[in-house]
Symmetry: C2
Subunit: 223 residues, 2 copies
């Protein structure tokens, strides 16, 4: 497989020269993961840059008390750049929430691109900056909003950022949902069922339909 024909190029990779793309092709392994499989694991060695070509992934860390889902990332995106870059071992894990296609890129080759190709480096910096700001705000919401608001946020996130559809199959169990918004499976259960009773959403197991977006936005804002 040659990267030149790949339809999933990242914003950074688009700026590589033909020669560089060629070099990438020889140092890039394509791997597929099934739903539920771990892509990389906390405390294991990190020696490749991981690029998510298609699919949906949860990034998670085992905290002092629970597993926390730090973020949910959909393709295309680099997965865990920070952990690969200046750490010998991964500081967190990534698990496929849907079937995923992933590229493992040799770290040295990737570094070489940064050294030689300023536009490539700039794109990576831009992505990292965006990630950091996003994580600031996720943390702010996690710590300052009440659970109802956090559930509303998460539902709106799946609608707008992941599926672009008011109806979707929730890719998480109630427990994972809890890990994503820092609460328990019981609280998630109660709140989404309350939402259903109030006619804000419709749920059938994992299938969710947002009926009253404005109410969700309102609940999200009130905290």
């Amino acid at each position: 497989m040659n990267c030149i024909d790949c339809n999933f190029k990242s914003s950074a990779t688009k700026f590589l020269s033909k020669g560089e793309i060629e070099e990438l092709s020889h140092n890039c392994a394509h791997v597929e993961f099934k739903k539920g499989e771990k892509i990389f694991k906390e405390s294991s060695f990190s020696s490749n840059i991981i690029y998510l070509k298609s699919g949906l992934v949860k990034v998670h860390i085992l905290g002092p008390k629970n597993e926390q889902i730090t973020k949910i990332t959909k393709a295309s995106a680099f997965l865990g750049l920070p952990t690969t870059f200046n750490e010998k071992v991964n500081k967190y894990s990534a698990t496929a929430l849907e079937n995923c296609k992933v590229c493992f890129i040799d770290l040295e080759v990737f570094k070489h691109f940064i050294y030689k190709n300023g536009v490539f480096a700039y794109q990576i910096i831009t992505e990292l900056c965006k990630n950091e700001i996003d994580s600031f705000f996720r943390c702010l919401n996690r710590t300052q909003k009440q659970i109802t608001g956090r559930v509303a946020d998460a539902l709106l996130f799946f609608y707008h950022d992941i599926y672009d559809d008011k109806e979707f199959i929730l890719p998480l169990t109630r427990e994972e949902f809890g890990n994503y918004i820092d609460t328990t499976r019981e609280s998630v259960s109660r709140i989404i069922n309350d939402f259903q009773k109030e006619g804000i959403i419709k749920i059938k197991n994992k299938k969710i339909k947002i009926l009253k977006e404005e109410r969700l936005i309102n609940i999200s804002e009130k905290g």
Copy 2:
């Protein structure tokens, strides 16, 4: 003032060529801030890269409920790279906790260095990656530890990462301390006074001395 003579060069700036340092000198403004002054402000335009040469700074965001101190940064470090880079307006504020010396670097010149100097770009990427991992863990502790553990963490942070001394002047009011660990001034008050009663620390207003580090570590780990 010429940057070539500056004793506070960042790890990235060290890799600039003589010509580039010269260019930097012409596009870099040195400013001093007194304790309590705002260095940059949420919602204001961000048009400069800000480099903290000396002093101590709090980075903070106004959340849905309270002000949150996202992190406390001591020199030398870039302040708010993420917010300057791909946002027109700042997403958060930075305020001096001590008198600070700061450089305002023209954004275009900084970008130019990234494009032209791969080692410079690589250093910036390294710093951004480190920041992101740190913020993941800060968020994890914020959400999963009980207040006692978070207070212990913060005290150990000031000891190890800021002052390198078991005795220090706390650069925050009780309320700011609360904003830093996501709690109220009352809870901070109660807990540090409990710590004093148990002989773990000694406090006299803002002056703190850590007496039993092992106990603090233990409290921090138990959550």
